[in-house]
């Protein structure tokens, strides 16, 4: 069994190494912001700003550079897959303990090894990847504490909670939200065993600790994002709260009132529910696509929905129905559902109360983490169907289902939500050129994707395609406007023209119109000073006239 687990670790590692092998430098552009922060720690011995997600990730990466003597880019390219692939071990242990069957644990571990956006986020060298690994330990240890108790495990649980808190704020938030949802079932059940009250106690004390920590340590940028979310939600806050309550109440009612439906025929029930869900969701997506201005390419729907429904959702549903039908203990029922219900509640809040709904895509990796337990049990049930002679065929089908997820883990640019996640070498080359030749104390205009690379190489302020950025406004409005005197350099990439000007999370990215390029090339106070395969750099004379 441990040899099989070792093989699954190998699969998890290889999947997470695919972009590193393909490109040879850190994948995804968020990573470059973090590289800049670790570079500062290595240069000055301490960060020069409040670290935005928590300090642990940054100091860990700095330590890895120092201990192994590897340079920053090598560390950021290769270190994280080796670390985060260990998450499969925790998922295996949790599923094995919960279901009492090691095979369910192995299936859960296999799907988490290849698992779509979960593999994506745990493959990137970002704080969230490490946060998800620690969160998995918290979930496992909490189950152990509730199931068997033991002070040593309580202590370990507290340590991993603190470690998660120090690593990534959003993962901690979702973890706490899930523990609160779990606590509701405990409060309603009023168990007599002290172990089972641990989530309630944690909810009370750890929330205070977390908010105290965030009060002192959270970065101004994070506060600003939170403020913007609340401002945007202020008009619809009650709608948000009501909609967020729906999944929690729904879960609670299921946990408290469940009566077995077609016992031992969960695969049949699961098939019917999964089909209904898929058809309903597809209809909703198509209606939303028709009614809203958010232009989601329809090809995305099958690309992401089919692997998710087939490989994750359907087995998870079968696993959940099995647990609900066969488990009397309410806390166990809730434990199986809380880690998915809480982030879904958060998504409902963001979607109904605010235009920040795009943030909700960041919840999916946590939902998947919470659901692997159910997925593992679902695959175990599938593997028990039919005659024994079908087992090899079932194994082959499961293998291909797992592999199907790898394709949505690191999608090609046309499926990456308007972004090109990886940089091209001409872009790295242009950013290095800018770092060598741009005047200091100037502002640069670009999009979020190219901008954070420029921040790293130039150490200067860069507009990231947002409302204050010329390229951001041009892409959003399509109307040519003069370039403000506050911008000296404009860095334009092919990705902005072909896909979109990315701006992080504030608005849906749109491509830079050709009229913008014509304006830049034909305006007499804008010089074109650098040109390569996919990057063009302009300098704004108006800036010089004003500030000379």
């Amino acid at each position: 069994m441990y040899a099989v687990l070792g093989l699954i670790y190998g699969i998890a590692l290889l999947v997470r190494l695919i972009p590193a092998v393909q490109f040879g430098y850190p994948y995804a552009y968020d990573v470059w912001e973090d590289i800049g922060r670790v570079a500062t720690i290595l240069t000055y011995g301490h960060p020069k700003m409040t670290l935005p997600h928590g300090p642990l990730f940054y100091f860990l990466l700095a330590d890895v550079c120092l201990v192994f003597g590897t340079n920053l880019l090598t560390t950021f390219t290769y270190f994280m897959p080796f670390t985060t692939a260990f998450v499969i071990v925790t998922i295996f242990l949790l599923t094995k303990r919960f279901t009492g069957d090691a095979r369910a644990g192995l299936y859960a571990a296999l799907i988490s090894a290849t698992g779509g956006i979960f593999a994506h986020w745990t493959g990137l060298c970002v704080p969230e990847a490490l946060g998800l690994v620690f969160a998995a330990y918290v979930i496992y240890l909490l189950f152990e504490v509730m199931n068997k108790g033991g002070l040593r495990k309580v202590l370990l649980l507290l340590i991993f909670l603190i470690v998660t808190l120090l690593t990534h704020h959003m993962t901690t938030f979702l973890l706490l939200l899930s523990i609160i949802v779990l606590s509701t079932a405990i409060v309603f059940s009023k168990p007599k065993v002290l172990n089972l009250w641990v989530p309630v106690i944690l909810s009370a004390f750890f929330i205070l600790a977390a908010f105290a920590w965030w009060e002192f340590s959270v970065s101004p940028w994070t506060i600003e994002v939170m403020r913007l979310i609340l401002v945007a939600a202020s008009n619809m806050i009650w709608a948000g709260v009501i909609f967020a309550t729906i999944p929690v109440l729904f879960t609670l009612v299921i946990v408290l009132k469940w009566k077995p439906i077609l016992p031992h025929r969960e695969v049949l029930t699961g098939t019917l529910v999964a089909l209904t869900f898929t058809i309903s969701l597809s209809v909703i997506i198509f209606i939303l696509a028709a009614l809203t201005s958010y232009s989601l390419p329809l090809a995305y729907v099958p690309y992401y929905l089919v692997p998710f429904v087939l490989v994750d959702f359907f087995p998870a549903l079968v696993g959940l129905l099995t647990i609900l039908n066969q488990t009397e203990a309410r806390w166990k029922r809730m434990f199986a559902m809380a880690w998915c219900a809480a982030p879904v509640a958060s998504i409902f809040f963001l979607t109904t109360a605010s235009y920040w709904f795009v943030l909700s895509y960041r919840h999916t990796s946590f939902i998947l983490l919470g659901g692997f337990l159910l997925v593992g049990l679902g695959y175990l049930r599938f593997s028990q169907l039919g005659h024994y002679r079908w087992r090899p065929v079932q194994g082959i089908v499961f293998a291909y289902m797992a592999i199907l997820l790898v394709f949505s883990a690191f999608p090609s640019p046309e499926f990456a939500f308007g972004h090109e996640e990886a940089y091209y070498r001409p872009e790295l080359s242009a950013a290095n050129w800018a770092g060598e030749h741009f005047l200091k104390s100037n502002s640069i205009d670009s999009d979020h994707r190219m901008g954070i690379l420029l921040r790293y190489t130039t150490g200067q302020f860069v507009w990231l395609g947002n409302a204050s950025s010329w390229v951001g406004n041009m892409s959003q409005t399509g109307v040519v406007s003069p370039i403000g005197s506050s911008i000296q350099y404009l860095v334009i990439t092919n990705s902005m023209i072909q896909y979109s000007v990315t701006d992080g999370v504030e608005q849906e990215g749109k491509p830079l119109p050709i009229s913008a390029l014509r304006f830049l090339d034909r305006t007499s106070n804008i010089d074109r000073i650098y040109d390569s395969a996919v990057v063009t750099i302009y300098q704004n004379h108006h800036y010089l006239n004003t500030f000379r």
Partner: protein
């Protein structure tokens, strides 16, 4: 003799075994594929202080203009490259990615560039000197990058170009 029995364990073993082989195949394929858009050339223009600033905006007729014109070869082979400096006016002859400018050529520079080599004309620490002999508003100095194509035995426009705008007074 060990008897192989088909149990639920068989399905797990086969699933993990086949998934391992498939993922290994994917990684090997990814490693063997060429890096995306590895091959490219670049051209740039720097001001007289060798920085991306201080570009001339207003000069007198005959007054020397100093700029560094750099080229970079990342085509994975040695290439003969040519930079054409052209003088246009009022955006009437702007190049495109496929078509060079129709403006008259002021000067031509050529150089064999090794792979991964950057070179600045007219040499290390020695900027290009340009003198314009006619007054006018909105003159453009256009810098086009060409390369020698071995197949057609002629210079081809790379689609890479830079441009400086300036006014020339009498």
């Amino acid at each position: 003799m060990v008897k192989f029995e088909l149990t639920e364990d068989t399905a797990v073993l086969i699933a993990v075994g086949i998934a391992t082989v498939l993922v290994l195949g994917m990684v090997v394929t990814a490693a063997m594929q060429p890096k995306p858009v590895e091959h490219f050339r670049a051209i740039y223009v720097l001001g007289p202080k060798h920085m991306a600033s201080g570009y001339p905006t207003k000069v007198r007729v005959g007054e020397p203009i100093y700029v560094y014109v750099g080229v970079y070869n990342s085509m994975g082979r040695t290439e003969l490259v040519r930079v054409l400096i052209k003088v246009g006016a009022n955006a009437t002859s702007i190049p495109s990615d496929t078509k060079p400018s129709s403006a008259p050529t002021y000067a031509t520079y050529e150089r064999f560039l090794a792979s991964n080599e950057t070179y600045e004309f007219e040499g290390p620490g020695d900027p290009v000197t340009i003198r314009l002999d006619k007054a006018g508003m909105n003159w453009e100095l256009i810098f086009e990058l060409w390369y020698f194509d071995e197949i057609t035995r002629s210079y081809m426009f790379t689609g890479n170009w830079c441009q400086l705008w300036l006014n020339v007074t009498g």
